[in-house]
C-alpha cells in the first residue's frame, strides 16, 4: 500500500551525551543539526526552514538561526512543551506542501542537569499572568503531584495496580540494556519498581522519567529531494495535534488529547491501530504511556493495566513493542521534552536501524506520540504516523 505524503523525514540524530558539562546549549543545537544533516546527506546551505521550541535560547528562532548562520525563508516556534517537536514535523510537512520551504531543520537541545533542573520536585515555570496560576500555585502544584492524581484516579476508576504500571518501566529497561547511550541500562523487575521509594503516592521513583542533557534533530523535506538521497525513506503519512484543559471545571484527568490527535492522524494516514507495528510513546511517567495506549486505540479505555502486563510492550515478546531505545524512563529525556526522542526511535524502526535485539521485523508503519504540558491540568498531544517508502 502506498500513501501520498507531502514530506519525508530524511535526517535524524540523537546527541550521544546525557550529561553535557562542557557544551553550551547553542552548541548542542548546532551539533544535533550537523548530525541530522550528515545523516541525511545534506548540507547547511540546503536548510531553508527552521523549527524550534522554547529550549532554543533567545527570541524564538532568532539567536540560533544567527548562531548557525542559517539562510531561512520559513520559521515556526510552536510551543506545546514536550509535544512541540512532533507538531514541528507536521507543520514542516504543511509548510513544504505549501511551498514555503524545501528542507526543514527541527532541533531540541539543552542541559537541565547542569542548570539544576533535574530534581523530581521541579516547580512549574509559571507566569503569574497566566490565568490558571492564581488557582493552582497556592496549592503547591507540582508535576509529580498532578501525575500522581492521574494515576490515583485511573486506579480508582479501573482497578489499575502499581504492579501493572511497573510493567511499562520493565519493558523500557529491557530495551535500554541494548542502547549503549542509554542513561539507565540495567533491566529492572516489577518488584524493583514497586519496592522503589514512593515519591508522590501512588508514583514510585521508578515510575518517573529521567532528566538528561543533550538533544536531537530531524530533517524534513519534499518527496523529490528525499528520493535523491541515499538513506532509507521515512514518509510522514499522518499527523494530529490537540490541546486539552480543564474545560471550565468539568473534566476527566484520565482522558488525554491523544484521543483527538490520534484519530486525526489515523484518518489522514487511512490506517487503524492494529496496523501499527511499533509505537513511541511519551513516558514522562509510566501512567503517561499507559493513557496514550488507551487513547490511541491499542486497547479499550480502562484496560491498559492488563494490556501492559507480562511484557506486552517488549519487542520480540509482546503485541505492542514500544520505546525500543529505552524511552524517557531509561534512555534519554533531554530538557524534559520527550517529543523529539519519540520521533527519532520511530525513524530508526522504520529504517530498520534500531538495535538488532529490539528491531521490529518488517516495521513498515510506526506511530510516535507525545504529550506536552501536564496531563490532569493542561496538555497537548501530537501524533505522527510514519511509513517506510
Amino acid at each position: 500500500m502506498s500513501r501520498h505524503a507531502a514530506a519525508y523525514i530524511v535526517g535524524a540524530y540523537e546527541h550521544p551525551l546525557r550529561n553535557a558539562p562542557d557544551t553550551s546549549v547553542a552548541q548542542l543545537h548546532a551539533e544535533v543539526a550537523a548530525g541530522a544533516l550528515a545523516d541525511a546527506g545534506l548540507t547547511k546551505e540546503d536548510i531553508d526552514g527552521f523549527f524550534c521550541g522554547p529550549d532554543a535560547p533567545g527570541t524564538g528562532p532568532l539567536s540560533l538561526a544567527d548562531y548557525m548562520n542559517l539562510n531561512l525563508r520559513h520559521v515556526d516556534t510552536t510551543n506545546t512543551s514536550g509535544s512541540s517537536y512532533l507538531i514541528h514535523v507536521a507543520h514542516a510537512a504543511q509548510a513544504i506542501a505549501a511551498g514555503k520551504c524545501n528542507v526543514a531543520l527541527i532541533t531540541l537541545a539543552g542541559r537541565p542537569r547542569q542548570e539544576g533542573k533535574s530534581k523530581g520536585a521541579l516547580k512549574r515555570q509559571d507566569n503569574p499572568n497566566q490565568p490558571d496560576f492564581e488557582w493552582e500555585n497556592p496549592f503547591g502544584i507540582q508535576i509529580l503531584g498532578v501525575y500522581g492524581m492521574v494515576a490515583q484516579r485511573h486506579m480508582h476508576r479501573y482497578g489499575t495496580t502499581a504492579e501493572q504500571m511497573a510493567w511499562v518501566k520493565v519493558a523500557a529497561s529491557h530495551h535500554a540494556q541494548f542502547n549503549p547511550h542509554a542513561m539507565l541500562r540495567d533491566p529492572v523487575t516489577v518488584e524493583d519498581v514497586v519496592n522503589s521509594p514512593l515519591v508522590a503516592d501512588p508514583l514510585h521513583r521508578l515510575d518517573c522519567c529521567i532528566v538528561t542533557d543533550g538533544g536531537g534533530a530531524l530533517i524534513v523535506t519534499r518527496p523529490e529531494i528525499a528520493k535523491s538521497l541515499k538513506r532509507p525513506r521515512v514518509k510522514v503519512v499522518g499527523c494530529g495535534e490537540a490541546p486539552m484543559g480543564q474545560a471550565g471545571g468539568y473534566f476527566e484527568i484520565t482522558d488525554t488529547a491523544a484521543q483527538k490527535s490520534g484519530a486525526a492522524a489515523y484518518a489522514e494516514a487511512n490506517v487503524k491501530p492494529s496496523d501499527i507495528k511499533y509505537v513511541s510513546l511519551y513516558d514522562s511517567f509510566t501512567i503517561t504511556a499507559m493513557l496514550q495506549i488507551e487513547d490511541l486505540g491499542f486497547c479499550e479505555k480502562g484496560a491498559v493495566g492488563r494490556f501492559v502486563e507480562d511484557g506486552n510492550l517488549i519487542s520480540g515478546r509482546g503485541r505492542l513493542p514500544f520505546n525500543t531505545d529505552g524511552g524517557g524512563l531509561c534512555n534519554n529525556h533531554p530538557v524534559n521534552r520527550g517529543g523529539m526522542t519519540k520521533a527519532l526511535e520511530a525513524v530508526r524502526q522504520i529504517r530498520g536501524e534500531a538495535h538488532p535485539s529490539v528491531q521490529v521485523p518488517n516495521c513498515d508503519l510506526a506511530l510516535a506520540n507525545a504529550i506536552g504540558g501536564q496531563l490532569g491540568v493542561r496538555h497537548a498531544s501530537s501524533t505522527l504516523i510514519l511509513e517506510r517508502g
Partner: protein, 133 residues
C-alpha cells in the same frame, strides 16, 4: 502535613472579590446568567457560552474528593487534590486534617480556609465525616 504553608495567591484585578470573601470564610464561584452553569476557575466571560453576564455566587463549601496525591517528598508534606464541588465544577486544592492512609476518591469533604504564607486565606478541604483528624 499541618506544617505546610500555602504559597500566597496573586489576585488578578477581576478576582480580588474572591480572595476578600475567602478571608471571611466564604467560597465564591462564578455562575453564568445566560446558560446557568457554574464554572471553575472564575472568569469574567462564561467558558461555555462566552456570555459576559456572569455572577459571583456563594458555594456550599461541600464536595467530594475527585483525586489526590500525597506529596511526601516536600519539606512539609501535603495532599494535592481535586475536589468536585456540590455545585458541579472540580477545583484544585489541598486536603487537610485527614488520615492520609484512609483518603479515597469520592470521600465527602468540606471547605476549610487556612492562612497562606502572606495576607490571604486559601480554600482547603477536610473530610466531613469519618477520616478526619
Amino acid at each position: 502535613m499541618s506544617d505546610y504553608l500555602n504559597p500566597e495567591p496573586v489576585p488578578a484585578p477581576d478576582t480580588t472579590i474572591f480572595w476578600e470573601a475567602a478571608k471571611q470564610g466564604r467560597l465564591l464561584l462564578k455562575q453564568c446568567r445566560n446558560c446557568g452553569k457554574p464554572h471553575w476557575y472564575p472568569r469574567q466571560l462564561c467558558p461555555f457560552c462566552f456570555s459576559v453576564d456572569t455572577d459571583w455566587i456563594e458555594a456550599s463549601g461541600k464536595g467530594e474528593i475527585y483525586s489526590f496525591c500525597y506529596m511526601r517528598k516536600a519539606a512539609a508534606p501535603y495532599v494535592l487534590a481535586y475536589v468536585t464541588l456540590a455545585e458541579g465544577p472540580t477545583m484544585m486544592t489541598n486536603i487537610v486534617d485527614a488520615d492520609i492512609g484512609s483518603l479515597y476518591t469520592g470521600q465527602k469533604v468540606e471547605v476549610d480556609f487556612r492562612k497562606s504564607v502572606g495576607e490571604w486565606s486559601v480554600p482547603l478541604f477536610r473530610p466531613s465525616g469519618p477520616g478526619s483528624l
